[in-house]
Symmetry: C2
Subunit: 402 residues, 2 copies
C-alpha cells in the first residue's frame, strides 16, 4: 500500500478549512446544520464531474461554469432542497449563494462552487441563506470536516469521510474527502455530493483527468435504486501546500497520486452504497468473460438494478434464475448455455443450468450482509463491476413521501 489512512477528511490536507451552519432550509428541519462551507486561503486548481441527467439543477449549471475559473477557493453546499426544476429564479438563487460565500470570504463569485441536495422543485429560502452564509467564516476551522460532512447529509444515517497520506519525492501529500448519498443513486452519478481536497501540487488539466478516471471507477459503478439525480457533483480542490514537484502525466508520481485518489473515491462510493436508503445488504456484481466492455457493463448493471434480484437478496433467496433473466434482457451479447454464476466463489450455475451446489449452501451466502455475485459469460475477456444493494420494504417506506 503506497498510502496510509489518516483522519481529518477534507481538512486533513494542509491549508483547508471547513465548517457548517444551521439555516432552517427545510420546513421540517430540526436544528441540524444544513449549509457546509469548504475554503482554501491558498490558490487552488479545481476539477469536477457532474450529473449527465439532462435535467440539471441550477447549482450544477453554475458550478460547471465556475470550474473554468483559474482559482476556485471555496465550495458552498446546502442540504434539504435541490434547487432543481426551479427555472430562471433557481439559477439566480444559486448565483446568490456563490455571491454570499464570495462576499464573506473576500473572493470573486466565480471562485465559489455551489451544490444543493434535497427535494426537487421547491425554491430555496435565499434571503435566510444569505444571512447565514455571511456568518460562516467564523465557523470555518482546520478541523471542520466532520461538521461539513454532517451538514450535507439528507437521508444518510452517518457522515461519510476519509483521508489518506502518501509520499511523493520526499514530500508528504494528503487527499481527503467527504460525501453524501442515500437515494437516487445510480451509475453516472446520483444524488451524491463528494468534495475532495488535496495539498498536492498538480496542474489543472492533470487533476481533472485524474478525477475523471477515479469517478469512472467509483461513483459511476454504484447503484441503489437506478434513478440518476439532477444534482450529482464531485469536486476536487488542490492547493499545492505539500510543495511536491508538480505532478505531470504520465509519471510514477502521478500513478501514486491516482491510486490514493482512487482509494478515497472508492471508499466514499462504498460508504454511500452501504448507507443507502433501507439497505440491508451490500452486493458486488462482477461480470467477466464478456465479449466487450460495454457488454460486461450492460450485464452487470442489469443484474445490479433488477427489482426482482434485489428483492430476492433482501429475503435471502439466491434465486439465480432472476440473474439469468436480467442478463438475458440486458442487451449484452450472451449465450445462455455458456453462462456460469458464482456466489462468493461457489458455483451456482454452470453452463446456464443449476450446478450441483446444494441450494442451502447458496442460501447461507446470501444470508450474509455482504456477498459477491460473479458472472462469467465465456465469450471474451472484458469485465465490469457494479456495487449494489438489496431492495427492502424500508426503501419503499422511506420513499413513499418526501
Amino acid at each position: 500500500m503506497s498510502y496510509q489512512q489518516i483522519s481529518g477528511g477534507v481538512t486533513a490536507p494542509r491549508g483547508f478549512l471547513a465548517g457548517s451552519a444551521y439555516c432552517g432550509i427545510k420546513a421540517s428541519n430540526t436544528g441540524r446544520p444544513d449549509i457546509a462551507l469548504i475554503y482554501s486561503p491558498y490558490p487552488t486548481v479545481a476539477g469536477g464531474t457532474f450529473t449527465t441527467n439532462k435535467v440539471k439543477a441550477a447549482p450544477v449549471r453554475i458550478s460547471a461554469v465556475n470550474l473554468r475559473a483559474p482559482d476556485v477557493r471555496a465550495i458552498v453546499a446546502n442540504s434539504g432542497n435541490a434547487n432543481a426544476c426551479t427555472g430562471v429564479g433557481g439559477i439566480e438563487t444559486a448565483k446568490r449563494m456563490t455571491r454570499a460565500a464570495a462576499a464573506a470570504l473576500g473572493l470573486k463569485d466565480k471562485q465559489v462552487m455551489v451544490c444543493s441536495t434535497g427535494r426537487i422543485g421547491v425554491p430555496l429560502p435565499i434571503e435566510k441563506m444569505e444571512a447565514t452564509i455571511a456568518q460562516m467564516p467564523e465557523a470555518l476551522g482546520p478541523e471542520g470536516s466532520q461538521a461539513a460532512a454532517e451538514a450535507i447529509m439528507t437521508s444518510d444515517t452517518y457522515a461519510k469521510s476519509i483521508a489518506v497520506e502518501f509520499e511523493i519525492d520526499g514530500k508528504r501529500v494528503r487527499i481527503g474527502g467527504i460525501a453524501k448519498g442515500a437515494g437516487m443513486i445510480d451509475p453516472n452519478m446520483a444524488t451524491m455530493l463528494c468534495f475532495v481536497t488535496t495539498d498536492a501540487v498538480i496542474e489543472k488539466q492533470v487533476l481533472q483527468q485524474a478525477l475523471s478516471v477515479s469517478v469512472e471507477q467509483s461513483f459511476n459503478r454504484i447503484t441503489i435504486d437506478g434513478d440518476m439525480s439532477t444534482n450529482d457533483s464531485v469536486i476536487i480542490l488542490a492547493n499545492g501546500q505539500a510543495e511536491n514537484p508538480t505532478l505531470v502525466s504520465p509519471s510514477p508520481q502521478l500513478d501514486t497520486f491516482q491510486r490514493a485518489l482512487d482509494h478515497v473515491t472508492q471508499s466514499l462510493a462504498r460508504l454511500i452504497v452501504e448507507d443507502g436508503e433501507g439497505v440491508t445488504k451490500f452486493v458486488e456484481v462482477h461480470v467477466n468473460g464478456a465479449a466487450s466492455f460495454s457488454d460486461a457493463r450492460r450485464a452487470a448493471e442489469a443484474v445490479a438494478k433488477s427489482t426482482l434480484t434485489k428483492c430476492a437478496w433482501f429475503g435471502g433467496d439466491p434465486n439465480w434464475g432472476r440473474i439469468m433473466d436480467a442478463i438475458g434482457y440486458s442487451g449484452a451479447k450472451m449465450r445462455e448455455e455458456l453462462v456460469d454464476i458464482y456466489y462468493d466463489g461457489v458455483v451456482a450455475v454452470k453452463g446456464g443450468v443449476a450446478s450441483s451446489t446444494p441450494f442451502s449452501k447458496l442460501q447461507e451466502i446470501v444470508a450474509a450482509k455482504r456477498f459477491t455475485i460473479t458472472i462469467d459469460l465465456h465469450l471474451g475477456s472484458a469485465e465490469y463491476t457494479v456495487y449494489t444493494t438489496d431492495l427492502s420494504t424500508d426503501y419503499v417506506t422511506l420513499n413513499m413521501g418526501e
Copy 2:
C-alpha cells in the same frame, strides 16, 4: 363500438374446448389445477409472439418452432415452474409436454404449442405431468375457459378473461382470450402468458400481422417491475368456424377484426397491470410532443419504471420532481424549460417549474387508485403511452423469497 363484450373467454369462439387438471408441479401446491389445455377439433391457423429475452425458456423455443406448422390445434401450459435455464433436459421436457398432449388428442407433436410459467431453473416433474396430460381430454369442454385461466395463474389474485363478438359481412365472429401476469412484467413481454382464440376465417400471415400490431399496443406497453421474463408468450388460434369471407389485408373487415382484437389484448394487459404483485395504483403515463417516437417511448418508460416515482405514488406523493428527473436521464431529447406535466389533466409543471396548482390538489389526484400522468415535451408530435403501477412494500415482501 363495432364489437360487444360477451362471456366465455377462449371458449366463446365456436369450436374451441378448454380445461385444466391438477398435477402438483410445485412442492407447495395446494391442490389448485396447474395444467391448462386449449383445443380446437377444427383446423386452425396460428400466430404468436414471444419474449425477446436472450434467455428463453425451453417451451418458448419449442412453441416458436411449432408455430411454423400448418395446423396448430392445441396449447398445453403449466404454472408453478418456468422450465427455463434447464438446459437440454428442459428442451426434452417441453417436447414431452407437446408429445403427451398430442397423444391424448390424436395430433402430431408439432400441432401443440407449449408454455410454462413459474420459478426458473428447476426441472419439471415430467413423468407425473405426462400421466396428468393423458387424462386431460376428459376435462375439455365448451365452457372450460375459466378453468384454463385459473390453471395458469401464479401470483395472480384472479383469473383474467375476456371475449367479444362482432359482425363481418353478416357473420357473427368471436375473439376470446385468457392471460396471466403478476410479476416480471415489462414492455416487450413479461412473465405473462396470453392465449387468444377466434372463429374468424383468416390467413396465417394476416393473423400474425394483426397479432403483432395488437401486442405492440398492449402487452408491450405495460410495466410492473421492469424485469422482462424468459417465458412470455402470446398465442392466437383461428379455426374459421364463423364462416366469414376470408379476411384480407388491407380491408375494412380486417380493420373491424383488428379493433376487436386490440380490445381483447388491451383489456387483458390492463388486467395484468391492475393485478400486479402488491399493486395499489394503476397509472397511465402518456408522453406527447416528443421529437420522435423513440424519444416518446424512452421518456414514458423511464417515468413508468422509476423506482422513486413508483414509491412516491404508493405513498400518494405527487413528487413531479422525480418525474422530471426520470425524463432527464431517459435519453429522450428534452429541454427542461419546455416540459409541462399534468396529473389527470391538472397542470403540475409548466415550462419545467412548479405550476400555481396547489400541491394539495395534486395530492388529491394521486390519492386515487387510478390516475394519468401526461408529459408534454413540446419538441414535436410523437407520443407514447405506458401502463404502470406503484411500487409497494407488499411487492417487496412478495418477491423476497420464491
